[in-house]
């Protein structure tokens, strides 16, 4: 048993979506609609209650060497997943204690406890958790807690045919990521970089990415914040509001009482 992580290397991803399929099959996740988005070959759009792995098809202006030499567009693919933050907004916001941290470092929603309050949905800075409209509860990637318990690799990593999704001990993966980016740069892939927001409010994640170009093209936020960070400001404001309400009401009624008392005396 060790602290584990995903490293998703978009330079190796071929956009086959085997991870999406394997995830759905293993976890029994329902279909996510037959919508055509018109956005490249991605008709799923984002992670959600019924999408725990999501392959992004990132099309950009043609750039030499980036995703082939097509005239119309360049293509890169990247398989997105719950980031399993070190300071997880969903976990900290959950009022039932349904969301827990597993011994592998992942963030897990216990489906038998979740009552579908939806607060975790507003607390996730990556927009991962979603409430299932039919079921009522919130769902996201489980980090294949059941498989990890049994000593198996998560379904998506197991299914990935190019080892774009790597799974392993977090420190080893981090080192591997640095070596891989160095290697890519040596080969002339200057824009390769690691997305691993250790310095941000979420304090690092258990899902790192190697992407080409700006991570924002992949909808990876440059500065994710854990919402718990706003609590001090908000509760201070709440305490001030309560104090003002108490003092104001007391003042109003004491002053009014005195005046009423005074006028009664005068009348007598």
């Amino acid at each position: 048993m060790s602290v584990t992580a995903f490293l998703t290397d978009s330079t190796l991803c071929i956009g086959c979506k085997a991870c999406e399929v394997a995830c759905k099959e293993w976890n029994g996740v329902s279909e996510d609609g037959f919508d055509w988005s018109g956005l490249s070959y991605d008709n799923t759009g984002s992670l959600g209650a019924s999408t725990w792995r999501h392959v992004k098809f990132v099309e950009q202006s043609p750039a030499p060497g980036l995703g082939g030499n097509a005239n119309e567009a360049s293509w890169t693919f990247s398989s997105d997943v719950c980031k399993h933050c070190e300071r997880a907004g969903c976990l900290e916001a959950c009022p039932t204690g349904s969301i827990v941290r597993t011994e592998f470092g992942g963030v897990f929603i216990q489906p038998d406890v979740c009552n579908g309050c939806g607060y975790c949905v507003t607390a996730c800075p990556f927009g991962v958790v979603e409430r299932n409209g039919k079921d009522g509860r919130a769902f996201k990637c489980t980090f294949c807690y059941d498989r990890q318990k049994a000593g198996l690799v998560p379904a998506c990593a197991k299914a990935c045919p190019t080892e774009s999704i790597k799974f392993g001990e977090i420190a080893e993966l981090r080192e591997h990521a640095h070596n891989r980016v160095e290697e890519l740069r040596r080969r002339g892939v200057d824009d390769a970089q690691i997305y691993d927001p250790v310095e941000s409010g979420v304090g690092g994640t258990h899902a790192m990415f190697i992407v080409r170009g700006d991570p924002r093209m992949y909808n990876l936020p440059p500065a994710p914040e854990v919402p718990t960070g706003y609590l001090r400001k908000a509760w201070t404001s709440s305490a001030v509001a309560a104090g003002v309400l108490l003092a104001g009401t007391l003042l109003a009624f004491v002053f009014d009482g005195r005046r009423a008392h005074g006028s009664r005396k005068e009348r007598r």
Partner: protein, 347 residues
């Protein structure tokens, strides 16, 4: 065998074609296909970029809450402030009718609030899962426990007060009434404004950028609504209520000015678009209008004063409700805005 083989194949193909047609039709109905046909055949591809993110798709998820939640914010705010007014009025020896009515408003809120909260859950039958832990770091958990204390306290004090008025006093009733009242005061204070913390401490930009002002804003809004409700119940001569209503309306006016003056792109949803107009309507109804009406009611005859205060009460109540709806709407609009989470820290 030879004969049935091709027929079977044709049938299958037919089924597949039909299913494809179905899918096309479904997509057309949902308006999703328009994205594809939006441009001519040779139109440029939609592109991902640092500025547009991933095809301008929202990065955040919208709050899944339905109509119950803004209504819950409104009811909770008014009930919490009413409980505080009732308890203080009782402690300072104000008229009994005011104490009784304030308690009934709080008690009504203590029944309606949990009902709204439970019915918004994806799994209402699992509401009790909220009570298996107390988590100070989760405003939702703190709020549920506050609601529980508040509901028990206000219902107990209103009920005991009713029995006392009807059947005469006794020691257990007096104990129940004063303990309930103390609890409804203690829990009513945070209950009237904690919903500001609830939405302030989230990943939704328009909410968390206002984390420091939302509880004050919601507290004042709740007080205005509570005073308005008491005035509609007939307490239109009470000067303490007038002072509280005036205070709340002045604060809401200042809050509106503050909001309008802040130049932060993250606040756009509360200033522009449908949610912006809802917020502005709520702000004017809860702020300047009651200030004017209440000021005008200070002069002139008794009847004129009372009818002006009735109007001010209505205005504050509707304004408070509109304010809560606007903030929840703004949260949804803010989550849909793909630009905000892609900005660098402090941007």
């Amino acid at each position: 065998m030879n004969k049935s083989g091709p027929t079977r194949g044709t049938n299958l193909e037919c089924e597949r074609e039909q299913r494809l047609d179905q899918i096309r039709q479904q997509a057309e109905e949902q308006g999703k296909l328009r994205v594809v046909s939006g441009g001519p055949v040779e139109a440029p591809f939609p592109q991902a970029s640092a500025e547009n993110g991933y095809y301008q798709l929202p990065l955040l998820k919208q709050p899944p809450w339905t109509w119950e939640i803004p209504l819950y914010f409104f009811v909770g705010g008014a009930a919490g402030a009413a409980a505080v007014i009732g308890a203080i009025a009782d402690y300072t020896g104000a008229e009994r009718a005011l104490v009784r009515d304030a308690r009934w408003i709080a008690a009504a809120g203590s029944v309606i609030s949990p009902a709204l909260l439970v019915s918004d859950l994806g799994r209402p039958e699992r509401f009790l899962a909220m009570l298996r832990v107390f988590k100070p770091q989760s405003p939702m958990s703190v709020g549920v426990w506050t609601l529980l204390g508040f509901s028990t306290g206000s219902a107990a004090s209103a009920f005991a007060g009713y029995l006392r008025d009807r059947y005469g006093t006794s020691l257990p009733l007096r104990v129940l009434e004063s303990a309930g009242q103390a609890a409804s005061l203690a829990f009513g204070l945070p209950f009237s404004n904690y919903t500001g913390v609830l939405i302030g401490a989230t990943a939704i930009p328009v909410w968390n950028r206002s984390a420091a002002s939302l509880p004050l804003h919601f507290g004042a809004s709740g007080l205005g609504a509570a005073v308005g409700l008491l005035e509609l119940l007939g307490h239109r001569k009470n000067r303490a209520l007038q002072a509280l209503g005036l205070g709340a309306a002045i604060f809401e006016t200042l809050e509106g000015v503050y909001l309008e003056s802040r130049s932060d792109g993250h606040l756009d949803p509360i200033k522009h678009g449908p949610s912006g107009w809802m917020a502005r309507t709520g702000g004017v109804l809860a702020g300047p209008i009651p200030v004017l009406l209440r000021t005008a009611s200070l002069f002139g005859g008794q009847r004129r004063s009372q009818s002006l205060r009735r109007l001010a009460g209505w205005s504050s109540i509707v304004g408070s409700l509109a304010t809560r709806i606007a903030w929840v709407q703004a949260g949804r609009a803010s989550a849909r805005d793909w630009r905000l989470p892609l900005q660098q820290a402090g941007g």
